[in-house]
């Protein structure tokens, strides 16, 4: 007569960690689809490659750490990290770039800190920054959106580009727009142009800005925004971080734009270009590395927004979300320490 003993409560809501992670990944799918529509199959190849490497690396480290492999693999967190790395890396970047990045993310940033829940930094962003600093040329070589490319890439060519059987000249030819000029991301273009002394309007006349936000990027952002809204609806994430990021970025950029429209990127372009939406909904909301309380999350998000604006405007790198998220990650414990909610029955200040 041995009863099962357990502490109350005996009921549980059936939302498990792996479900949460799976939902996040599913919600990212429309964004990935749109991204590969504009930038070719390279995106999908990178994502798949990253997932394979991430799972293998996670399993290997767990074996080395003498932990149960299957339950941890099944929590989908490694897959999510891999997806984020895959979409953040240029679609035609060589294969070893994504392999190194994923290994770095899973082994160093996540598992060496103790695995899921213990890492200080967002693994995907830490890997991105590491790659960006170590391999700046490869990491900034975005392919041209297919619709305006001189030589659109098909799946075979993408594979060739990624797995290295393509000559440098050939590769460079895919980075050319139809006007035969090498192209970078819209924000990068703006930054370069502003540095060259061009005004915003002049820069925006370039073909890469054919639709006002940079070809393709607007739709990519819209797709991620849609995915993010679905996540909010499913209560997979809470709204505080995302809204705080977008709001503070909007406020900062509006302010700058109003002061000097010729040298500042407009608020709408800030919001719908580059990695804004995927970062606001899929990256910064990683609960492990974010602040935990409601107020803390608002501060955390606002901090990211401000940092993104500052780095985008004054920094040396075209997009800033990786840096901003990592810096905010650093501040999260600090924020949590100072932003404790008032417990029931305690007066404020206690």
């Amino acid at each position: 007569m041995a009863f099962k003993l357990a502490s109350s409560p005996h009921l549980k809501v059936q939302l498990q960690t792996q479900t949460v992670m799976r939902r996040v990944i599913l919600c990212a799918l429309p964004g990935i689809a749109v991204q590969s529509y504009f930038f070719g199959f390279g995106v999908l190849i990178q994502v798949l490659l990253a997932i394979i490497v991430a799972l293998a690396a996670e399993a290997a480290v767990l074996v080395l750490r003498k932990r149960a492999v299957l339950p941890t693999i099944k929590d989908n967190s490694a897959v999510l990290t891999a997806v984020l790395i895959g979409v953040a890396i240029p679609p035609i970047a060589p294969w070893w770039l994504v392999v190194i990045g994923t290994l770095f993310a899973i082994v160093l940033v996540k598992q060496l800190y103790g695995g899921l829940g213990q890492n200080i930094f967002n693994p995907a962003m830490a890997a991105y920054v590491m790659l960006l600093i170590s391999f700046p040329v490869q990491m900034t070589s975005w392919s041209v959106p297919l619709v305006i490319a001189q030589n659109p890439m098909d799946i075979g060519l993408s594979l060739q580009a990624i797995f290295g059987s393509m000559s440098m000249e050939q590769l460079n030819s895919y980075k050319l727009g139809f006007d035969g000029i090498a192209m970078a991301t819209p924000l990068d273009t703006v930054k370069t142009d502003l540095a060259l002394g061009l005004t915003m309007t002049e820069s925006l006349n370039k073909p890469v800005f054919a639709d006002g936000f940079g070809v393709g990027w607007f739709w990519v952002n819209m797709a991620y925004l849609a995915g993010g809204l679905v996540m909010l609806k499913l209560k997979v994430i809470r709204w505080h971080i995302s809204v705080a990021i977008l709001a503070s970025l909007f406020v900062c950029s509006s302010f700058g734009y109003l002061l000097s429209p010729d040298t500042h990127v407009g608020p709408l372009m800030q919001l719908f270009s580059g990695a804004t939406m995927i970062a606001a909904f899929f990256i910064a909301t990683d609960p492990v590395t974010a602040a935990t309380s409601v107020r803390g999350r608002l501060i955390f998000g606002a901090l990211i927004g401000v940092l993104v604006y500052v780095i985008r405007t004054y920094g040396g790198y075209p997009d800033a979300f990786a840096f901003a998220v990592l810096l905010a990650n650093l501040c999260a414990p600090f924020i949590d320490y100072y932003v404790k909610p008032r417990a029931y029955g305690h007066r404020t200040g206690n």
Binding site: M1, A2, L5, A6, S7
Partner: protein, 189 residues
């Protein structure tokens, strides 16, 4: 040359100024007593057992503050020793007494065998034993610190150290530690 002189003068003046400041601060913010002793004493278990070789916990605390070893307190166990090491900034040392499993125990006098010699009463550091000459003695268990000191003096060995029983109020919620055996005794169902 003059640079050297200036440097020397400046440094001397600085040294003087800071020296005065420090001296002033030392006087002004002087801490009364030796708070270290109090801190050490707060960590000691207050069983007053004297196993450290000092008559009570306070004297041992003073001795530790004065540089004595931190591993002389068997009732405190390794936990106390580690806390002391932390406080004193010294390396933890293994206890010099063999450490048993730390279960809180209290003395219990087998009253039929007690001859009323009062020796345990004299030995008890916290006056937790009640009785008089040629009359049976008993331990006030609430007051007993479990220091063991009364066991040795008893001429008839009638004092046992018994572990304190758990009640529903002191239960520590170790669900896995519930003895399942107990259940079978009552009624098979």
């Amino acid at each position: 040359m003059s640079a050297i002189v200036i440097a020397v003068v400046v440094l001397t003046v600085l040294a003087l100024v800071f020296g005065i400041l420090l001296g002033f601060a030392a006087e002004k913010f002087k801490v009364e007593g030796n708070p270290l002793t109090d801190q050490v004493e707060a960590l000691l278990p207050q069983t007053q057992c004297g196993q450290c070789g000092y008559p009570g916990c306070r004297p041992y605390a003073e001795a530790i503050a004065g540089g004595d070893k931190i591993n002389k307190c068997p009732p405190g166990g390794t936990a106390t020793m580690e806390k002391l090491a932390d406080l004193m900034g010294v390396d933890p040392e293994p206890l010099n007494a063999t450490e048993e499993v730390q279960v809180k125990k209290v003395a219990y006098i087998r009253e039929d065998e007690c001859i009323g010699c009062t020796k345990c009463i004299q030995a008890c550091p916290v006056d937790a034993i009640l009785g008089s000459g040629k009359l049976m003695h008993t331990v006030i268990t609430d007051y007993c610190t479990g220091c063991d000191l009364c066991v040795a003096p008893c001429p008839v060995d009638c004092i046992d150290m018994l572990p304190v029983e758990q009640t529903t109020k002191t239960w520590d919620w170790q669900l896995n530690a519930i003895p399942v055996k107990q259940l079978q005794e009552d009624k098979p169902c």
